[in-house]
Symmetry: C2
DNA sequence: AATAGTATTGCAAATGTTTTCATTTCTTAC
DNA sequence: GTAAGAAATGAAAACATTTGCAATACTATT
């Protein structure tokens, strides 16, 4: 291996090898139409021979876009976000960007730190989950003028673009469905709502719809567990051990519902004959659960794709309008609910 | 807003505001012990006032590390990878790095393109899923000298560091378990093995263990479906519609097993009385499934954490030894299997 | 064969940092 | 009050690119 090969090739090495100036090499990448075809061929050849790889960092300091978009989620390994990340990533990659990913574990203060870090990397855009964030975070984003979208939850009054479902409405749909089935003895199981405006909204929606029919969830049937099949299963099992049992169980999301369904299966309680169950989210698998879960579809893939499109647009066209986009949640009636 | 505030603050603006030279500002960030406390205070103050955010791109062109690590997975929204990504991301963030994430949808040629892109971003390290990759990809990585780990699958002879389970062994564990339960009429359901060495290895492991007991999966019970609860459920339902039925079903991963379990539940076939079922992976939820799934644990979280540690080490200490690490898969016997 | 116009290329400055080396300032001991 | 040494700072070069402008090389037209 000769000396020249040893250190990684830069644009100057390529220029030398192709017997042109660095400017021409640069142009050949960025404005190929400005360089003669034959010259381009020489350059391409040199690039290949030297194994040259462009240095985006060097481009970025010219105010050129970095080609990265930051995505910060509470956590990756909730089905709910995995799907979103996947669709967002596909759509944003198609547009030539790469994702910088980080997770904050529902700690909004940590989110702020992560946003800062991504700004240091000069991301061209940012995507955050939910509407609720630290004031500092918003300030930072606004000050830096980085195109930002808020995912998953929809709100009109947010100063930033939000793209998502009206989670309140999703909850409301479920609450009404249950109430219309004449259930009055209703239990609920929700994840902790701290740092999670989506869950909070859904819960409010359920309560609101139920209230319209004069129903409310009593304290002893008001369960809170982490986002996990096992935790939900245990909590439900414990609740059902008591004399007094509800006739319906509203779950804050599908994962919790799966846990509940397993609990009933284990306890030999028939769904929907003895108890009705609902989820929210319509995650992969809910349709094929046995019995198939009645839930509200929040189209994660659609949200991810829309968000990617929007963010790419905001980055490329300078004119940003903070118009939010709403994707409507849809009640999906399957087999876990029956009238009382 | 004054003119000076308008454009984003750089280190020179900070230096001016603090009445020191840019060098001092830089030092105050990178080697704080070299600058007087009172000066540092002035600088910090200016930084805050101007909302200055460091520009990593500018640092990166000095050969300083970019602080990013590339992670390329087949897809994010398989439970199997979501968990891995999460643990990897936590561990790598703790070490001060940020993840660049991309997915290739089991197309290894696309993976090559993504690796290139990440190299353009000058990632300090790379993590890939599986042992099998395009020769071009390996060449690129080696040539650029980027510390790389191969995740999920373990192999001694790989030139790159690999960290994962021996998937062949995982399959073997399951095969033996089933055979020892005296099953001879065994069905199998696996995902497509193209571009997926993990699945291929597992399958081989199962077949090998079965063969030791003189058992093999006949063609009509040899199912292949995409990684999805619904697809597995349908395929299994169809298989069970025939006269001839197996007494055991080996599933290539837990998701497929869930689908199978739902299929049996729907068809009213009792597990494990009428048929035994196994998964591989021990994903979240398998323990709490009803009936609880017998499977092989491949500790995704552990793999992710180990990988992050290793990659960070390889980046910071120049001496790289391509020693692979193996995490052992463990048979988890639960309730879905019975002797015949 | 000369000219005008266009296509292609190179030069040099600029981008936002870090770092080496030299210079200045501060301590401390006498 | 001075000298020696240490601590703190600044000037300038370096990093890998891009780009505006000027220079050169072609092409077509007369």
């Amino acid at each position: 291996m000769s000396d020249r090969d040893k250190k990684k090739a830069d644009i100057i090495a390529v220029a030398k090898a192709a017997r042109v100036s660095p400017s021409t090499v640069s142009r050949s990448f960025n404005h190929p139409e400005l360089v003669k075809a034959s010259t381009r061929k020489k350059i391409d050849h040199a690039v290949r021979r030297l194994g040259y790889i462009r240095n985006r960092a060097a481009q970025t300091i010219h105010g050129i876009r970095s080609g990265t978009v930051g995505l910060i989620v509470p956590t990756v390994d909730h089905a709910i976000f995995a799907e979103l990340i996947q669709s967002f990533s596909e759509a944003i990659e198609d547009r030539g960007f790469t994702i910088l990913l980080a997770s904050h574990g529902y700690e909004l203060q940590r989110e702020y730190v992560l946003v800062r870090k991504m700004l240091e990397h000069r991301v061209d855009g940012m995507a955050l989950i939910g509407i609720e964030h630290e004031a500092e975070t918003f300030g930072l984003l606004k000050r830096q003028g980085v195109p930002t979208v808020l995912l998953w939850n929809y709100s009109e009054q947010s100063t930033f673009t939000s793209i998502g479902s009206d989670n309140f409405h999703a909850g409301w749909l479920i609450g009404r469905h249950i109430a219309k089935l004449n259930h009055t003895r209703v239990a609920g199981i929700f994840p902790p709502i701290k740092g999670n405006d989506r869950a909070a909204e859904r819960r409010k929606g359920v309560e609101c719809a139920l209230a319209e029919f004069g129903v409310r969830i009593p304290a002893e049937w008001d369960l809170e567990t982490p986002y996990s099949v096992g935790a939900a299963k245990d909590a439900v099992l414990q609740m059902m051990a008591h004399e007094e049992r509800p006739t319906a169980l509203v779950c804050g999301n599908d994962v919790l519902a799966w846990g509940a369904l397993h609990a009933f299966s284990k306890a030999g309680i028939r769904v929907p004959d003895e108890i009705s169950v609902t989820g929210i989210g319509d995650f992969k698998g809910s349709r094929d659960f046995e019995p198939a879960l009645t839930t509200v579809r929040i189209p994660a893939r659609q949200i991810g794709a829309k968000a990617a499109r929007r963010i790419a647009e905001d980055i490329t066209s300078a004119n940003r309008n903070a118009m939010s986009e709403r994707v409507v949640p849809e009640l999906i009636v399957r087999r876990t609910c029956a009238p009382v």
